[in-house]
Homo-oligomer: 353 residues x 4
């Protein structure tokens, strides 16, 4: 059985299109041995708890495997924000634009508030401006309760630890909790060459999603909570949302294998390296990148006719509007993929002349 | 890597404790080949749609893979019941007793109403009594909107197709929709020696859960909707609940393999056969069964001291209160498991004399 | 403009059918003088806060005027019960049977659990049994979080302060909060000849509804919260439910006038006295009362033919099923009403012989 | 008993601060005569239904009295928008900025989407732009389902019937329902010198709030639904939200009196006339108005020092940020109020020179 792509297709549509990392698939096979207590009462889930505490240097960390990033973010936010609260995030955030009201549903009417900010990042000033436009304690107004940042952002930019610390400092002035949408967290860590704690535990994040699925896992993302009060809520919120797997061992073993020995960061590094090569190749051909890709995503200016021809050659990507495309690499993208894609682009450009 | 059970343990706690059927594990491995469009845009998901329509002889059937039975039932019910509606079910139903308010959450305050009924089954009379105690059209009262039956029931009994038809007939008198909690649907079909359509499509069920996880799948259950209006709702409801897998191919391939060539019914048959052997052995030893096991579950009267000793011998089961235990077999239970368990029971009984 | 009842009709259908007490109507007219800050920033609302603290001898009490008993109870419960919690109440409770899922909606899927109990009252033993059947800390099960009792009950019986204290003691063993549905609170206080604090502040109730509308107010009931954490929630929950009146002065002035100088208890006493006379008259005629009326409500056994004839004579009441009717008196029921109703019954009974 | 304002205060803070129109207060007193069936089974409510159908020339119109504008708008929107839908409104709309998530709560996670538009009005182009940025049928995106406009807007501007018709035409292209936040509907009708139907029934509005409270009612606003499917939903949604008054006659009689003989438009005209006088006076004094007041609201540029002194003279208004105030007139504002306020302003201006 082969992939469902045409022969010779090269995948840059989304890291969600990639397969499962071979070590994770092997671990799944190995775990399929005999019976195990359901709903997390198994030894893999116990081990996972230890792996997480160590990975994030947080003895009280709790991990909640859930089956999607949507669930990881919206359930975490529901556990952090009262129904009358608002979640402040960047106006381009996935949680604001692409979740069909998931946080408002799980959060019993909590609302999202999209803020502007350069580089697609929340800026201390935009949060302060949101604070200033709020009538605190006035029940006519949803009360800002959580700051959620996405790193890398949905446009591929990466906060530095200092930028995050600045955002957290402003949030703390008003007692807001801090959430990190880590849909591509490993790519951020790889891009920053930092420890996983540098943009989580150390900067004061209260809960975050792990982003395992885009980066080599099969069927599980997870919420990591560093705050016991949030953890208490998530115990119940995940279950009643149908996100506590009965055969939890198969979720836990993916995450153990993902986090063990820094595999997740290595996988993220592979994706980033492929993007570095790809974007260098594009620049060498005088093609405009809308921003310098910092992780595994690029937004590229290409005339419609050119990108249509490139697509026709079997290079898969998303059309983002007039003369603009998005390219995403994954742990699975090989140097050969990049080279072949650029070669096909050369042919297209030559034909266009 | 071995199971997390002690050596020689024999598993009767729950079919949720069983592993993944080998053919399903192989299909997962085979699907891990190259990239595939996310969120169900892949060829496996397309194939799954065809497999489901054929399996249930329903050209308009839609399948929604979700990651748990909790999700499968509560999201389906939310799509079938208005917020001011009630779901009528048996007072022992899992959806009523064990879901921590999931249906009320997803259903925006829809309520569950537990009804009595012999054999742990909904009876036409108890539904009629519920209808008679309702002030129809009076907004003081949640309006009965869905009848949900569980087959096999949570106590292991099985509705006959005629019994189901009788329930559906009463529901139809007031225009209620009909939901089937199919957590162990394959076990019911195996027990009834009927076609899968006999207790779904043919009797007028509008939507049901498939129950794949307990019976050999890994990480996916599913909702099957036979009603386009419910399907339209579920398109959105599953996504915003975080139950649309980004790497959907790995969910779909499990379900294809599960349903293909009647594998699910064969797996259910294995579980039921093990229970038949086990319960025969218990009766041979003059041990009381609270009801005649019809599928893969038995409730057994055993003095506390006896069952404690049996448990100490490595036979795993749930204690259900004074002198009562629950035994559940799965597709994975072997004849040797049953024989060994009965042998250990003989030793316990001999020592007790 | 006259009432909408036929001439000579005598009202025993519901205390909700009664009018507004004249002193309250006068206070409304007097408050309609000039302008006042909206949403509770007026001097009447300020005065109301003082009146409530004094009436219930609770310096931290907060009052939240809302426009119905449904709102008063369901919003209070939503502020007391987490979404994964359950509210334990008697199986005949109005909040369980007659609110169309209001608490589950406002409570984001919190569920109600109806318990049996003699005299239509929650008993310590039924609460303990509910506790014992709960898997505490297991997210499969809604966690008992609030005990709600109704006093008088929906069947007209009244808890003694000792009975309440016993219920509260059991609730406290597991840390549950205590809610009182005070739909007819004044009738209970009048029946018990006790201080208002005796069944509220003194027994450990955390929040209760005041029940003003049935007993002489026009358009406002209220939640009284004795717990600052609940009050903090209600500040926001009442507003976003649309239950913070913009012209709050007209709500507050009703409640001031209601509570001032014990008027509410006097009004309740009038209703109870009318019921005492009415039930004495019924007993004198050898008519069976299903229970001894303790407040302003009686359930009476009367052959269908007899009560149909009584109704035809202009006596208004509710038919509660075969040979059973409900009679409710209000602050507005006069001794003449009672005497006339009994006289008409005599005529009916004579004709029936 | 006098107002809670200091002697000589002149009220321009909000029309919510005004009292109850004397004819409405008299009707309330007159209705307080005998008993009446609860929850809308009274003759006033029956009469109200006829009055509404006639006022809006809509034989199928249904009216739902609710106790606030918050309730009127958020319940109507919840009945018009599926949980996965979005409500498109102007980015300055009260329902978007000031309701603490009420629509998302009642709408089970439906979201609000604020759009730009000149004159604080929704423009066909901004709705079209929202449509174009939507992935229709893609469950990642809340699906635009309702267009809600506010007339007059929260900034005091008024849509012409033609402007409304243009908005409705665009909404209809995608099958959206149309909601009108009529918090000051009478002021709009008075400003436009049009029939009430001209901006409701005739332009294709599906449901609207009546805005009675700000314009002379006491304790009731209302939803008017012109669509039987919305009406069916509201029957239940209003009840379970606690917005069906038990003593409904007192709500209905206010609304009868409000609508009868066009009183509401007369009251709105009084408020508008006062604003016309006030704004003329301001312009005569060379004071800048941020927009030409079309109804009963003005935003005025006044140096902080000047407006502080004016406030100190007993003229009540809201400070809207640097050098800006809001002035609102009501049905209760008299020519003397306006003259006195302008006179005090003259003194302030003279002192400032």
């Amino acid at each position: 059985m082969s992939s469902d792509q045409p022969d010779g297709a090269i995948e840059f549509r989304s890291d969600n299109c990639a397969g499962v990392a071979p070590q994770i698939m092997e671990a799944l096979t190995a775990a399929n041995n005999g019976s195990a207590l359901a709903y997390g009462g198994d030894r893999w889930t116990e081990e996972l708890r230890e792996v997480v505490c160590e990975a994030f240097n947080a003895p009280d960390a709790q991990i909640f495997p859930v089956s999607s990033g949507t669930a990881a973010n919206s359930l975490a936010l529901a556990g952090m924000c009262p129904p009358w609260g608002s979640v402040l995030c960047h106006e381009t955030a996935h949680i604001y634009k692409n979740e069909c009201g998931a946080t408002s549903m799980f959060g019993a009417g909590a609302v999202m508030r999209g803020l502007p900010g350069d580089g697609f990042k929340l800026q201390p000033d935009s949060i302060r401006a949101a604070f200033e436009s709020t009538n605190w304690g006035d029940p006519h107004h949803s009360q800002p309760s959580v700051v959620s940042f996405t790193c890398p952002t949905d446009m591929g930019t990466v906060y530095t630890p200092q930028e995050l610390a600045d955002v957290v400092t402003v949030a703390a002035e008003k007692g807001l909790k801090v959430h990190l949408d880590g849909a591509r967290l490993a790519n951020a860590i790889a891009a920053l060459h930092c420890a996983p704690t540098a943009i989580t535990t150390d900067v004061g994040v209260d809960a975050f999603s792990l982003g395992a699925i885009k980066n080599g896992a099969m069927s599980t993302d997870a919420i990591v909570s560093l705050d016991p009060e949030i953890s208490e809520q998530l115990l119940y919120r995940t279950k009643r949302a149908g996100h506590v797997a009965s055969k939890m061992r198969y979720q836990s073993v993916q995450l153990i294998e993902y986090l063990r020995d820094g595999r997740w960061v290595k996988l993220g590094r592979q994706a980033n390296a492929a993007m570095t090569e790809l974007s260098r190749g594009l620049r060498d051909r005088d093609i405009e990148l809308l921003a310098e890709p910092q992780a595994n995503m690029a937004f590229v200016r290409l005339p419609n006719a050119v990108h249509a021809a490139w697509a026709a050659s079997g290079v898969l990507f998303y059309d983002m509007g007039p003369d603009t495309i998005r390219l995403v690499t994954s742990w699975q993208t090989t140097p050969d993929d990049v080279e072949a894609a650029l070669h096909r682009l050369d042919l297209v450009l030559a034909a266009a002349r």
